[in-house]
């Protein structure tokens, strides 16, 4: 009996320890680094010449940097969903997914902060936010909640990592001296005593409770960057709930994509099983239906009234310049995934991966549609300005920086998976033991 549990334990540890990069891993990392470097060069050009290198002008003064920012903040909400809400509701099958969700959340929130600095006209004056900050400004609220959420997410990564650090330190032959030093620095004091577990579990519980309102406020406050203005398309009381439901959807979609990739390339089929995909599939369908509901509220209700400033904006979304993108985002981002996931066959790993990818891509375009079309419909006509001010298509620098930020987010996740086990080892072992005890009884 004891032997079999220990062997099982050894097997779990062997499977879940971080693996070195194979050829595919190296290629993936190198490509991402290249994209980041091109983005870095584009940013250098922007620092040198000013924001004129972008295609943003006086009317479309916010472009894909801001829509990328909203996209990242939206994805970062997944941490609170999977980790916090599932933990608090004792959802046992979510254990393998918690760390994936947390690292997606952390990397997304880091990139959100960086991309907002990229968008600033005077990034060197960032300290003015702390020296001369105005608490009345929604940007100030955003800075505060993002910083808070980042710290909470790091803590929520750290606490559950402590038991795994012990295992990592013990298996130093697999990790090498450099990483071993890192593990020791971070968690050599963890001995696995009852007292330590008690404190750790209590802290994790507190964090889970704390992160939920903070996560809600992070995306509500980001939505208020738009909802506190008068513009058609933004002047909506619906925005907080609309953004949060969208954030949950895109976060869940990104977790599904990550689940599939890690499962396939790290051979984790025993841990991320088809059951997980089945359960996640149901949750994603529910979230997609919820988001669709909010979209109906957001677009159909003003369309019923067709107030003058909103009319031009809505017509352009439904049938005009942005109609292709709009219907693409709706179909690919919501409707087709719903259809795929409503069927049991659709909730198998591969179809779910496709649906998840569609959700994420659709969500990116949806964020673009929230930011740019409104700015092209100001209250007063666009006159007495150069022709370039009346349209917007991002310049190559903007694309490079946006892609660079996405690549950097993926890089953070990749490096994390290289250094730490992407599925919590200790918790998996404990789950396995509990399962064995149940089976024996």
């Amino acid at each position: 009996m004891e032997n079999s549990t220990r062997i099982q334990e050894q097997q779990i540890i062997k499977d879940l320890l971080p693996q070195k990069f194979g050829k595919r891993g190296m290629t993936w990392t190198v490509i991402l680094l290249l994209i980041c470097l091109i983005g870095g060069y584009a940013y250098y050009r922007q620092l040198r010449d000013g924001l004129v290198v972008t295609a943003m002008r006086d009317y479309v003064s916010w472009g894909i940097y801001i829509s990328n920012f909203v996209f990242f903040v939206a994805i970062s909400l997944v941490g609170s969903l999977i980790t916090a809400i599932f933990r608090l509701s004792n959802v046992k099958w979510s254990t393998p997914l918690t760390r994936i969700a947390e690292i997606i959340a952390v990397s997304a929130i880091v990139m959100a902060s960086l991309i907002i600095i990229v968008d600033m006209g005077r990034p060197e004056r960032f300290y003015n936010l702390f020296l001369h900050g105005r608490i009345q400004s929604p940007i100030m609220w955003d800075v505060i909640v993002i910083a808070t959420y980042f710290c909470i997410s790091i803590l929520l990564l750290y606490f559950p990592l402590l038991p795994d650090l012990k295992i990592l330190i013990k298996n130093k032959d697999k990790s090498g001296p450099g990483l071993n030093k890192l593990y020791r620095f971070q968690g050599s004091f963890w001995k696995g005593t009852k007292e330590q577990f008690r404190i750790s579990n209590k802290s994790i519980n507190i964090l889970c409770i704390l992160i939920i309102p903070v996560a809600f406020s992070i995306h509500t406050v980001t939505s208020w960057l738009f909802a506190t203005t008068y513009r058609p398309g933004w002047d909506s009381t619906n925005f907080g709930a609309y953004f949060i439901s969208g954030a949950f959807l895109v976060g869940a979609g990104s977790v599904v994509v990550a689940m599939y990739i890690f499962r396939r390339y790290y051979h984790l089929e025993k841990y991320i099983t088809e059951l997980h995909f089945e359960k996640m599939g149901r949750i994603v369908v529910l979230l997609a239906l919820l988001y669709l509901y909010f979209n109906v509220n957001e677009y159909l209700v003003p369309a019923f009234k067709m107030k003058k400033p909103e009319e031009a904006h809505l017509v352009e979304l439904f049938t005009g310049e942005f109609s292709v993108m709009f219907w693409f985002a709706i179909m690919v981002g919501m409707i087709i995934p719903i259809i795929i996931l409503l069927f049991k066959k659709g909730r198998k790993p591969l179809p779910m991966f496709i649906a998840g990818a569609m959700i994420v891509v659709g969500a990116w375009f949806k964020r673009y549609l929230i930011v740019t079309p409104t700015l092209l419909h100001p209250f007063l006509p666009m006159q007495d300005v150069p022709l370039s001010y009346q349209h917007y298509f991002p310049s190559w620098e903007e694309w490079a920086i946006a892609m660079g930020s996405l690549a950097a987010a993926l890089l953070i996740i990749t490096f994390f998976a290289r250094v730490y086990p992407i599925i919590p080892i200790e918790e998996t072992i404990m789950e396995q033991n509990k399962q064995n005890e149940k089976d024996e009884a």
Binding site: T148, F189, W190, I206
Partner: protein
């Protein structure tokens, strides 16, 4: 035939070249310099001249700065030099008549001001006659009236100046608010003009005073004359402070509304104190671990 054709073509080409050079000349025409001189007499004491130099080019008028001019009184010899001036960035320059020219000034009732640039004569016929203007008020049956009287110096004595057009009213930012309904008032044969104050209850300063003004602008004979008088006919100033220095959403950060300060800092303090507590829990875990190993 062939010769005729080539000659024709040659003529065509040379004509087009000369046309182009004419057009080029038109494009780079230097523009016209406009210099103006104005005489001001304020409250029968301070008098001064304002010189303005402008460039008119392709329909646009821009000021010329840094240009030097000499202003003379009656004659263009050094003894009669009023001042050497240089125009500022707006193309304007001020000049006062120096006390040394007292005898020349008192000698005649009319004077000619001349402007020279280097040795070149720019203005030579700006003639001003001495005049004085007084402003007076009267109140009958609580109806206020303003009257102005213009006199000119002729043959050694002051005589009334008739037909002088002026603005009569209350001094405001950027101009003179007419006292009555007419935009301007003209002196009669006795050199007087009266206007009834129809603009009642105009705001004054914090004591309820405002300044009455009689202003003659660019008169052919007398130049610009100004006379002012302070009267206590205004209502006291009640500045509208409803939008400034209060706790509002648009004040500086320190003056945020209380409800916002409560909510924001309340949330921040409660969340961050919990996080600091959790960091202490990590320390506790560390202590416990070190204890166990010891």
């Amino acid at each position: 035939m062939k010769h005729n054709n080539s000659l024709f073509i040659f003529l065509l080409i040379s004509m087009s070249f000369s046309l182009q050079s004419v057009r080029a000349q038109e494009k780079t025409s230097p523009g016209k310099t406009i210099v103006s001189l104005r005489y001001y007499n304020a409250n029968n004491s301070v008098q001064y001249l304002v010189l303005q130099s402008q460039l008119k080019k392709e329909g646009q008028i821009t000021p010329i700065s840094g240009k030097k001019y000499d202003i003379f009184l009656d004659k263009s010899d050094p003894a009669n030099l009023i001042a050497k001036v240089t125009t500022d960035k707006n193309g304007k320059a001020n000049a006062f008549i120096p006390p040394t020219m007292k005898s020349a000034w008192d000698a005649t009732s009319q004077h000619i001001f001349m402007v020279y640039e280097g040795g070149e004569e720019i203005i030579s016929d700006y003639t001003i006659s001495k005049a004085k203007m007084s402003i007076d008020t009267s109140t009958v049956d609580s109806i206020h009236s303003i009257s102005a009287s213009v006199q000119k110096w002729e043959d050694g004595k002051w005589i009334p100046a008739a037909g002088v057009e002026m603005k009569l009213g209350i001094k405001r930012l950027g101009g003179v608010l007419p006292a009555g309904d007419e935009e301007s008032y003209t002196t009669d044969s006795s050199g007087n003009v009266t206007a009834e104050l129809k603009k009642l209850n105009m705001p004054g300063d914090s004591k309820g005073n405002y300044i009455l003004v009689a202003q003659v602008e660019d008169n052919d004979l007398f130049g610009n004359i100004l006379a002012e008088k302070v009267v206590p006919w205004g209502t006291t100033l009640q500045p509208d402070k409803s939008f400034f220095n209060k706790r509002t959403l648009w004040s500086t950060g320190i003056q945020a509304p209380f409800w916002l300060l409560f909510m924001a800092f309340g949330i921040i303090v409660s969340v961050w104190s919990t996080m600091i507590y959790l960091i202490f829990q990590i320390v506790k875990i560390k202590k416990n671990g070190l204890q166990e190993s010891a």
